[in-house]
Amino acid sequence: MSVSDDPALSRDDVAYLAGLARIDLTDAELDHLAPQLGVILDSVAVVGEVADADIPPMSHAVPTSNVFRADEVRPGLTHEEALSGAPQEEQQRFSVPRILTEEA
């Protein structure tokens, strides 16, 4: 990860994350949002004050494991249903804009 572990999120960190998330931010928006995100991270960091070093970070709220599904086919969607939310379709497929912008 390129974002620093320092809870004080820098303006560059936010610009980088925005780039990864394909969100176009103006300089003014960056100035405005970077400190706000910092405040949010600081608030969450309070959790660290009660969790001692011997408590491992957790990714799941409930400690369960091995919830499996049997390998049995279940009905899904028809192609009409699947494509019903697509802005554009062609040949029974989802049509998406050009993927590469420059000739390579």
């Binding site: 990864l20 919830v67 049997a70 390998d71 192609h79 040949q91 998406v96 050009r98 993927i99």
Partner: protein
């Protein structure tokens, strides 16, 4: 594009450079359903007919792991002598590309289910040990169709069309550690490793491993370093090398290309490259400027996988015998020499010969057809012998007709032609092409009489005791019968008349 400057011959390149390879093989499991939803996984369905809210990434959908896929993953790990993680999680690999409708691929990151293994590969009779870095679970992506480009490629395309039938099909990615020390045999070792994996996965019964249908795909990492140097050179990653022959060709080409670049004093660019089946060349794709940042994080919607020791041992007990053990057993059962076994394995025909014998053929006949006749035809068309449109049962059926005297070896070749051309079963081809030998003694006898009458001098020699001279008469009869006779029977008829 076809005349690339600075290619160095493969053998010449290896006098100066030592190749280091890393192979990443993706295998689609042949489970009935996808990795995280109940959609079917069959190949070739109409576009977007095997999809549901989970694999389309619709809001509110909740994925649940396919237990059968996890079992297959653990069995693959065990077959590769890996340690199995007692506890591991799935992770989201975030990226923006329309082949995944979720904007992430569910994969595993720093907690692969299997890691630190090895497998022993036969390369022309020598055992080459390939170290396995990891085998992890993930899901396949959708299929893109690029529209508007000249060749259906992404470059120059106006837009792209997505079919998500394949999105979410269970995938195991098997990654080797750097393969060093193969030297001049690098391309062979890589090919043998992929062929070996294929055999191993087939014997596990976890995948149909059809490279031509994409259920097994290989990415080839390759770098060169000056002979004697320890540190690795800059590598390239050639994507989607999808046949055994292509693995070998891609490596030979990259060795030649990189040696040319390095020899000219230039540097290798770390990049993704594409392999072209038609030319056997690789061309530059994406340049990896920054390390990609996929922002992996543990998948919160899926529970961790806990592989208890009991479960792992239960699965270990289901493993088939190791390939080397199996080969030794078959060699003994068939009474084959070391050299014969090496040829069978080298041709990738072990399972084919085994199944042909199981279908009733003798080991000798099964070996003969697969190694001579069929391997030659596979080489001519540039496919793997297992990819030919003929089954072991067909081959056993053809041999059964030879054994019964209905056809001879020469006619059998015509039957192979017919079956490979899609004309039906061996029986149907024999009937349609009229390939059966003439077993009518009256017709044969008449032909024999004509041959004797046409060559009285030869007939006299045989009468005088020179039985070897019968060959000339047999040849004449076979010619008249257009090959459709049993030469042994013709010989009997000739000798019964003249001795």
């Amino acid at each position: 594009m076809t005349t690339l400057p600075g290619l160095v011959g493969f053998d010449e390149a290896l006098e100066t450079f030592d190749p280091v390879m890393g192979l990443e093989v993706h295998v689609e499991l042949d489970t009935a359903t996808k990795m995280f939803c109940g959609c079917p996984t069959g190949f070739g369905a109409e576009p977007n007919t095997q999809v549901c809210p989970v694999c389309l990434g619709l809001p509110g959908a909740l994925p649940v792991v396919n237990g059968a896929a996890v079992q297959s993953a653990i069995r693959i790990g065990l077959a590769l002598n890996c340690s199995i993680a007692p506890w591991c999680r799935f992770a989201r690999k975030n990226y923006f590309y329309p082949d995944m409708p979720k904007n992430f691929q569910t994969s595993q990151y720093d907690e692969p289910i299997a890691y630190d293994g090895f497998t022993e590969v036969d390369v022309d009779g020598d055992v080459f040990r390939v170290e396995i870095e990891r085998a992890h679970m993930e899901e396949d992506t959708g299929k893109s169709l690029h529209v508007g480009g000249a060749t259906g490629r992404i470059h120059g395309a106006v837009h792209s069309l997505l079919d998500y039938n394949r999105a979410g099909v269970p995938l195991i990615e098997i990654v080797t550690k750097p393969i060093e020390g193969a030297g001049a045999r690098a391309a062979q070792v890589a090919r043998a490793y992929v062929a070996h994996l294929r055999e191993l996965l087939l014997s596990l019964g976890v995948s149909d491993v059809r490279m031509e249908q994409g259920s097994m795909r290989c990415d080839v990492n390759l770098s060169l370093r000056p002979v004697g140097q320890q540190t690795f050179g800059t590598r390239t990653e050639t994507k989607n090398v999808n046949s055994l022959r292509s693995v070998e060709r891609a490596i030979r080409f990259e060795v030649s290309r990189q040696a040319g670049v390095l020899g000219a004093g230039a540097a290798i660019v770390q990049e993704t490259r594409h392999f072209h089946e038609d030319t056997g060349e690789t061309t530059a794709g994406r340049v990896k400027t920054d390390a990609e940042d996929y922002r992996y994080f543990p998948e919160p919607d899926l529970t961790p996988i806990e592989a208890t020791a009991d479960w792992v041992e239960e699965l270990r007990a289901t493993l088939p015998e190791a390939p080397r053990v199996r080969r030794a057993r078959l060699q003994q059962a068939w009474g084959a020499s070391d050299l014969e076994m090496r040829d069978i394995v080298g041709a990738g025909a072990l399972i084919l010969v085994e199944q042909t014998v199981a279908a009733g053929s003798s080991p000798q006949a099964a070996r003969k057809w697969w190694l001579s006749e069929l391997t030659r035809r596979a080489n001519e068309t540039g496919v793997d012998v297992s990819e030919l449109a003929i089954t072991p049962a067909d081959v056993a059926g053809i041999q059964a007709m030879v054994d019964a005297g209905r056809i001879n070896d020469k006619l059998a070749r015509g039957v192979f032609d017919g079956v490979l051309a899609g004309e039906g079963t061996p029986q149907e081809v024999v009937a349609a092409r009229g390939l059966e030998v003439v077993s009518d003694d009256a017709a044969l006898g008449a032909a024999v009489d004509r041959a004797i009458a046409a060559s009285p001098d030869v007939a006299d020699k045989i009468r005088a005791g020179k039985v070897a001279a019968a060959g000339a008469l047999i040849g004449a009869v076979m010619k008249e019968m257009r090959g459709q006779a049993d030469a042994g029977r013709v010989r009997e008829l000739i000798l019964s008349r003249l001795t």
